[in-house]
Symmetry: C2
């Protein structure tokens, strides 16, 4: 890699090109990202036509934009000709409206209609993930006919591993794998070797549900149909890998109280990072007014035994951690489809029991520790009873809130540690000072 | 589904069977999981031979175990005959040693040797994910020969979409897709149409790295070679989908301070759940002794202004949340390969700048709020200055710790909110009371 950079530095573009062409397009795209925009454009223009399209599809949107505004219309058209249909859509979705218009103007009638249709599918829908580059067959074809059709049209297709059998209204009737075709006799009918028990999705289905189906049924590709069951596209598993990672990343961010950022961390500006984080911090900080009020309400208890303040951090942290353990397991269980809405009672019972076991273990250990440190008995008992109930409550609240969010169609990930910490804090302090009032005052 | 359950309840197994056979094996396996073990076994024995093997591969380990101890040796052998090689390995890995011995005894010499070899690959290695059911070709073959070989051997293979070209020592020389074969002329040589720029992994590579390669290069399958570059197996993308989900789930759990649990939440017992959570809670609770000591050390400040205690929760929560935002982004960035070890300086600078922006916004808002609430100026200023430095520190610590963990080959996910909260708490309290001492006393 360093070698290629050296060659570029010394303006030995011919040799750099020769080296680049030995590399995987993914690696070329990554490599170009690390160069200055000017240098990367120079190298990009040296690539062969099909290699350029492939490399282009792996570039970041900002680099794609820089490339297309700096190359000729002819070069743009030649890239778009070679680009896979779904990569074209991905690219156009990230471009400014006036650029998209320009591209659509240059496309032929049929392509324009299709591009317009696909650009209109909502982001994160099955429609926005699919490609039209699949092989369609008819039931009446023989295996020999089918192979002939695959040979004729297969070169431009995203996959030929699975072919789709449709009727004259383009309604999906079955699927047949290339393996089945190859292993069948030449005069077998497609209608007789196709599978009719098909897993499919609708254009407007959410990408998360689509990914879940891929995982559940171990699929390599899946047909997408419209409301009249007409086949409009297919989704391939390579796009699903990205979706699964994206969805997990989004959940990680939401659970940490961050408004989701799509760009990579190192590529995101300080201001954007700050903007995406400050919102939840502000909300949580202001809602902590409650906790301040609770402490103020019990100022007399605190005044009579300032030592009580020393255990506030431990109590709150343990409660927060206990709650976020529960909410994390439940949120992830919901995301993976292991936990359904009607499991709420089971979860409450389970968390209550776990809370009792864990609460007893923690309170017991803590009592021993405080005793060894010579803390007076009333305070030690107050701390440990509060600890037990805080953990119990944190577990139940942590388990319940994501389920309630799900029932109201709110993303369960929002009910993660920051929010639960705030709720549990208020409860923990109230329990703590109430017990303290009766045991110490 | 309800219908099938009714049929089973009324012992109408014949009709239930007919319905089951229309279902996808994945759904049959899920359905059987919900029945009593006895009922599910009865239904399972009614399935056809190949359907039984397929359903078996989707069952949970405990149900697989129940099935194999309750069916005859002949039935076991018939399932194992039909089971894919990698599913057999997955199943045997979960079974007790004496059962595995029994199976190995019943297998022929060659299978036994292979099973033994595969069972010895470490868990989570590429070797433990791979299958031997691939098509191998030779460079000298024509496309016609290759197709003949695929037709002859393809039926038992996991995939024929990609075929692997090896030499006489089984060294990997290239790969060729079925698409390329079909679209080529009958007398083209495999050696001339194969790709030689291959992405592959070694048997002992970690499954996380394998998954990362699949995602980076949009692969459908990948060859696995030994140290001498001999092809020993292939990994297909369907297994990678599961790995990605598993790895994300593990990170979610570790980041919430839970020792990873592999089973589904609802299937895990209360005691197991408690055991996996109590460890970190205990460690964190005991390390909170520091915070208690810090507060005690400043008892005189606190005595002179008990109101100070009211802002401890807000300060600690905001610090903890700010820190976990940073650590989450960095941990996820490392997991996705976006952040490398040598990015540490960039991260420190970035988090410092984000910390200043966010800290100013929060401290400013808070000052306004405290002023409106009529809190005395020295206390308000103490709270806000502490808030600013706490947020700044939390951001930098949150960004740094996962990077340091990575450098020492510790899982960065451990450096998540619970641990960072504890560290930030101690720092926040020290800052708070030190400022308070000089401004208020």
């Amino acid at each position: 890699m360093q070698r290629v950079i050296d060659l570029v530095e010394h303006n030995l573009f011919g040799q750099a090109r020769a080296r680049l062409l030995e590399m995987n397009p993914v690696d070329i795209a990554h490599f170009l990202e690390d160069l200055s925009l000017e240098k990367s454009l120079m190298l990009f223009r040296l690539l062969s036509k099909d290699s350029a399209a492939s490399v282009f599809s792996y570039m970041s949107p900002e680099q794609q934009k820089y490339v297309v505004v700096n190359i000729t219309d002819r070069e743009i058209r030649s890239i778009l000709d070679e680009l896979r249909f779904d990569d074209t859509i991905d690219f156009l979705e990230e471009m400014p409206a006036n650029f998209v218009k320009k591209v659509l103007k240059n496309a032929d009638e049929n392509t324009r209609r299709l591009l317009n249709q696909f650009l209109n599918y909502p982001e994160n829908s099955a429609g926005s993930l699919m490609t039209i580059e699949f092989v369609d067959l008819k039931k009446e074809m023989t295996v020999k006919d089918a192979l002939k059709r695959i040979k004729k049209t297969g070169l431009d297709k995203e996959t030929i591993d699975t072919c789709y059998v449709i009727d004259n209204e383009r309604k999906l009737e079955g699927i047949v794998t290339i393996r089945r075709i190859i292993l069948s006799e030449e005069d077998d009918l497609v209608g007789n070797i196709m599978e009719t028990n098909i897993t499919y999705v609708y254009t407007l289905d959410d990408q998360e549900d689509v990914a879940a189906k891929f995982i559940k049924y171990d699929l390599m590709s899946m047909p997408v149909v419209d409301n009249e069951n007409r086949l409009v596209g297919i989704i391939t598993v390579d796009d699903i890998l990205d979706i699964i990672e994206e969805e997990a990343t989004e959940d990680f961010q939401i659970m940490a109280g961050i408004a989701p950022v799509e760009d990579k961390y190192l590529k995101t500006s300080v201001l954007t990072l700050a903007k995406h984080r400050v919102g939840w911090l502000l909300i949580l900080m202001i809602s902590a007014t409650f906790t301040a009020n609770i402490v103020q309400r019990f100022e007399d208890v605190l005044q009579s035994s300032v030592l009580l303040a020393a255990f506030i951090p431990m109590l709150m942290d343990t409660g927060g951690n206990a709650g976020s353990q529960s909410s994390t397991l439940v949120i992830r269980g919901i995301a993976l489809g292991d936990i359904e809405s009607d499991d709420l009672p089971k979860i409450i019972v389970k968390e209550m029991l776990v809370g009792i076991v864990v609460g007893l273990a923690l309170a017991g250990t803590n009592l021993l520790r405080l005793y060894l440190q010579g803390v007076s008995l009333p305070i030690a008992v107050t701390v440990c009873i509060s600890l037990f109930f805080t953990v119990l409550l944190a577990k139940v609240v942590g388990g319940m809130l994501p389920m309630i969010a799900k029932r109201f169609n709110v993303d369960p990930a929002i009910m993660a540690s920051p929010l639960i910490t705030t709720i549990v804090d208020a409860a923990a302090l109230t329990i703590y000072f109430t017990i303290a009032s009766s045991l110490i005052l």
